[in-house]
Symmetry: C2
């Protein structure tokens, strides 16, 4: 457990006392492929650090279609940010699914907030993560509005070069906001052109 926590905070180097404070507030969790971290209606109260493996957050709309919000791999944090941070304390409509068996570190958001106040270094690290996540989500909104499905797919492949081993095509389709059929046609077009 200690080495994983050191890994999480590698960029800020905690001393022993600080490390101890963190350790008593986190737990290690193992999840297997296809398992859900969060079940429908359950209210999320934690954030999860990914030590290894791969997960995705998705949600199901009123007509039953899946929409993947993000994929997450080693070094990322994952949670249902909408219900965690959002103003309306509505129940979660988001699912967090394990795509490739993973080892996670779980920490409750309440505890994490306290740690941020007790150990300012942690809040600075957290700010950094939030800022870059925020920027990439803004970028995604722009790309969704600007680019065609094909361009978005090509971008995706470039941004996540090694993710194809793990994720299914319908995961990618639901991330890009298109149907599996459309993705299939796009893939064909691209390989045909070579």
């Amino acid at each position: 457990m200690k080495p994983i926590v050191r890994e999480i905070f590698e960029s800020i180097e905690l001393n022993n006392e600080e490390l101890h404070k963190v350790l008593i507030n986190v737990q290690k969790i193992e999840v297997k492929k296809k398992e859900l971290l969060l079940r429908e209606g359950q209210r999320i109260d934690s954030i999860y650090y990914i030590h290894n493996g791969c997960l995705r957050t998705y949600f199901i709309d009123s007509s039953g279609k899946e929409h993947t919000l993000q994929f997450a791999i080693k070094g990322w944090w994952i949670s249902d940010y909408i219900s965690l941070y959002g103003k309306d304390s509505s129940k979660s409509v988001t699912y967090i699914e394990c795509i490739k068996s993973a080892t996670l570190v779980k920490i409750s958001k309440t505890e994490f907030d306290i740690l941020c106040k007790e150990i300012p270094k942690i809040s600075h690290l957290y700010i950094n993560k939030l800022e870059s996540a925020f920027a990439s989500f803004q970028k995604r909104i722009l790309e969704n509005q600007t680019l065609s499905a094909k361009e978005r797919y090509i971008n995706f492949i470039n941004n996540y070069p090694n993710i194809e081993q793990n994720v299914k095509n319908y995961h990618i389709a639901s991330f890009l906001g298109i149907t599996t059929e459309s993705l299939s046609r796009i893939r064909k077009e691209i390989t045909d052109r070579k």
Copy 2:
């Protein structure tokens, strides 16, 4: 100047020493309708608090179309988060335009980061702002993928009930990711139905 800075940090109550630290790092800025905070190619290095008025960030894609990323009113912060927080230090492609004459407080991101470290309360406030902004951007991605243009427009009207006095329809269209023509037809459909 003092009362505005107090307004910015009203939820955390700075003492005189802290207030002073902030004051020497900020400047008040007045912008008039149609003015740009940021010109093309210019690299942004500051964030702006909106004391009053209304602004929007938008960018122009390769085919010349405008895309509005966000509107901002009193109490909000505005900046070009993609170039400010993003990993690639590319030049800005984003514009920040004043929609309704505004009074802003400008602070350089570098100074702000220092203030966060010197006055932890500020970093906690900042984390809160980031978290809720992050959640609302995630929500927007989901809504863009799930809802029809009409549904998104109705949502927009409900979320920004009093914004219509200031913003043009083509601002709204470019926020929703549709053309002005489509928005016009949607508006007609809605009023006809009444």
